[in-house]
């Protein structure tokens, strides 16, 4: 059973990696900046989408306010880079600490509720923090924080400058793929199986010997950490952060990415992020009514293709493999 499920996912993930590397090569040769940075942004958002998928696709919890952690990560990273030290690892470390702390608190509040109630709590939490940050002068208020320095990322043997579009793209790609591998592995452990059990039939889980509340809380914290770490990369890319990173639109976009890409597959979120980012960029230039088109695509996807892109492709890959075996 394991093979049929994981091998198509691995193939899809490997395909993603190959495409991304080819893209980076193309871009570097062409001396391009914009498309590489746009793709880097898509990868960063893919990290957020994967976090949402862990909660929705695996634990069955719909988070309508996950941008809270993404934005939190971005702000902590921005403050660390600007006021403490322009260090990649320092910023990530600070972000991880803050996210785990806040994730625990927020998780404790939210986990009590299930289903739509959970969604509404996360929505409300994100709104409250968004407004608080928007109104806090020390955090830049509605203008956000500007002037984040362009950093050098030290890998011991070599350094990569964040200012280099292709270089940073590769760093973020490696980061996101590692995150994917870690999360995918986690979902195959007994803990991950417990989450799936919770999604399928929560009342039964205690009878199997698992504490569902604790499992949900841990999943929540993991999702918070993942989203925050992804967010931490944003100021390194764009040189600024703004309260809009916490707004509902960001949470909504992440959700659209997960659904379009394929909920419950993790790898789907990678594709979903790329699809939505590319769509928004292209449609936005073409017409000012891009929201109608994206909304319509989303509605069609929810009704006719609820398993998303990955959900459509993975069984076909599986069948192809089955035929060969």
């Amino acid at each position: 059973m394991d093979d049929l499920e994981t091998r198509p996912q691995r193939i899809l993930a490997a395909a993603f990696l190959v495409f991304a590397l080819a893209f980076a090569a193309f871009g570097a040769m062409a001396g391009d900046t914009f498309f590489l940075r746009l793709a880097t942004e898509a990868l960063i958002l893919a990290g957020l989408a994967m976090a949402v998928d862990v909660l929705l696709g695996y634990t069955g919890l719909l988070s309508l306010g996950h941008a809270l952690f993404f934005g939190l990560g971005a702000y902590v990273s921005a403050l660390a880079l600007k006021h403490w030290a322009p260090s990649f690892w320092g910023a990530l470390g600070a972000t991880l600490a803050a996210a785990t702390l806040l994730g625990s608190v927020a998780g404790f509040i939210s986990i009590r509720a299930r289903g739509v109630y959970f969604a509404l709590i996360t929505f409300g939490l994100a709104q409250v923090v968004y407004k608080a940050v928007y109104n806090t002068r020390e955090l830049g208020g509605s203008d956000g924080i500007l002037g984040i320095p362009e950093i050098q990322i030290n890998f011991g043997l070599f350094t990569a400058p964040a200012a280099s579009p292709a270089g940073f793209f590769l760093v973020v790609l490696a980061f996101v793929m590692l995150m994917y591998l870690a999360l995918a592995y986690l979902m195959r452990t007994p803990f991950g199986r417990a989450l799936l059990a919770i999604r399928t039939n929560e009342p039964r889980v205690p009878f199997l010997g698992y504490d569902s509340s604790r499992a949900k809380l841990i999943a929540f914290i993991i999702a918070a950490d993942a989203a925050a770490l992804a967010g931490a990369l944003y100021p390194m890319l764009r040189g600024f952060v703004s309260p809009d990173l916490l707004a509902f639109q960001a949470s909504g976009n992440a959700l659209i990415m997960v659904i379009l890409g394929g909920v419950g597959t993790l790898v789907g979120s990678l594709y979903g992020a790329v699809i939505l980012t590319a769509l928004k960029s292209v449609l936005g230039t073409w017409t000012e009514h891009h929201l109608i088109l994206i909304g319509a695509l989303f509605v069609v996807s929810v009704i006719f293709l609820p398993k998303g892109f990955a959900g459509y492709v993975l069984p076909r890959i599986g069948r192809f493999l089955g035929r060969r075996a």
């Binding site: 062409a30 391009d32 498309f35 942004e41 509605s142 956000g144 500007l146 600024f240 790329v274 936005g284």
Partner: protein, 388 residues
């Protein structure tokens, strides 16, 4: 993934081909075409399109035609930055403008610096943009908050010496700083503050605050709400009968052509400090207003006229420098005087702020009539930019 391959190929084509000089001059416009500020973005677009059409009819800039490329920033700085970079890198625009909220303007000025191009704002009035957060690549052709306050205070102390003033603003950075700027300017001239309240942005119902306003019994009410909030605030003030014996004044963006229609009589008598009104009696403005109305069937407002003016600003700077090279245009723009429907404006070299005459404008029978004037040099305030 195919999308990214095609996109990469396009990028390759763009950078691979050599760029011969003749070819249109491209102005990138990153402005909100959707969302709360879409009305402002619309005026920006109309102003720029009109200016470009006029300039092209007369031969363009430096003999080249001008074209505008629009991108929707959704009033979101994270989107604005992306689109600005797209316009600079892929469309290779020579100049960028159109941002509305100060967050977007500041973020875009960083992008402009990194791409070594110039940008200008025609709407953002946060003082910081040409003050503490000034940028060598960002210019401002519109009046900033301090200038608006100066004109308004001037009128107010003449009309009502030593007035009692109540302040109501939207609770965010811009709302609070506008109120405090006006408050300090007013208090210096003898005004007495009798109350201050900040309502949340997008607040629907202002009636919870009316008790406070009533008991404070102010002669003047200053407000910096905008857009839909203004419509609600003003209508509700009238609804509750609070407008008798109360002079309402406020920021320039509070009552504009976009929300005046929805307010009807509620905005009658409102006074603000602004650099423009369509009623401005000069041949240049009359020509501009009739051209604008002919093209777009609506009256221009301050965003429309300033966006119209920014194209002429770039034209004047580029023609003075005889090139579109960034450093030369910047040098030419500093200290530049150019003609706009509002008269001659001067671009102050020290902070890239346009100096212009300011007016106290009163809404009378649905029109914005001028009731006082403050010359540009008196209104503009000190140069606090120390970054260049």
């Amino acid at each position: 993934m195919k999308q990214t391959l095609i996109a990469a190929a396009v990028a390759f084509a763009f950078t691979g081909a050599a760029q011969p000089q003749p070819g249109p001059i491209k102005i990138g416009v990153v402005t909100p075409l959707t969302g709360t500020y879409a009305g402002i973005g619309q005026q920006v677009k109309w102003g720029i399109d009109l200016a470009i059409k006029e300039i092209n009819d007369k031969g363009g800039i430096l003999g080249r035609k001008v074209e505008a490329l629009y991108e929707d920033e959704e009033a979101n700085p994270t989107v604005a930055v992306q689109k600005a970079e797209k316009l600079f890198q892929v469309s290779k625009v020579d100049f960028l403008t159109g941002t509305v909220n100060s967050g977007s303007t500041l973020a875009v000025s960083q992008v402009a610096e990194r791409n070594q191009r110039l940008a200008a704002t025609t709407v953002s009035f946060s003082d910081a943009i040409t003050g503490a957060q000034c940028s060598p690549n960002m210019f401002r052709v519109n009046a900033r908050a301090g200038m608006q306050s100066a004109a308004l205070v001037e009128w107010m102390v003449k009309e009502k010496p030593n007035p009692t003033v109540f302040y109501l603003g939207p609770d965010y950075e811009m709302g609070r700083s506008t109120v405090s700027a006006f408050k300090s300017a007013a208090e210096k001239r003898g005004a007495k503050s009798v109350g201050e309240v900040f309502a949340p942005l997008d607040n629907k119902d202002y009636s919870p605050f009316f008790g406070q306003i009533r008991s404070a019994k102010p002669q003047v009410l200053y407000t910096s709400v905008a857009g839909n909030d203004t419509v609600r605030f003003m209508s509700q003030l009238v609804e509750y009968g609070l407008t008798k014996n109360l002079q309402i004044v406020g920021a320039a963006g509070t009552v504009t052509a976009q929300n005046l229609g929805a307010m009807g009589n509620a905005a009658e008598g409102y006074v603000t400090g602004a650099a423009y009104t369509p009623e401005l009696d000069s041949p240049a403005n009359k020509a501009f207003v009739s051209a604008f109305k002919a093209a777009w069937k609506t009256e221009p407002d301050l965003y429309g006229v300033d966006s119209y003016g920014v194209v002429y600003f770039y034209k004047a700077a580029a023609e003075k420098a005889k090139t579109t090279d960034t450093d030369k245009v910047r040098a030419a723009a500093r200290g530049l005087d150019w003609d706009t429907p509002q008269g001659k404006k001067h671009m102050r070299a020290g902070d890239h702020q346009a100096v212009q005459d300011m007016y106290a404008v009163k809404v009378t029978s649905g029109k914005f009539k001028i009731v006082a004037k403050v010359p540009g040099t008196a209104a503009v305030g000190p140069d606090t930019c120390d970054k260049f």
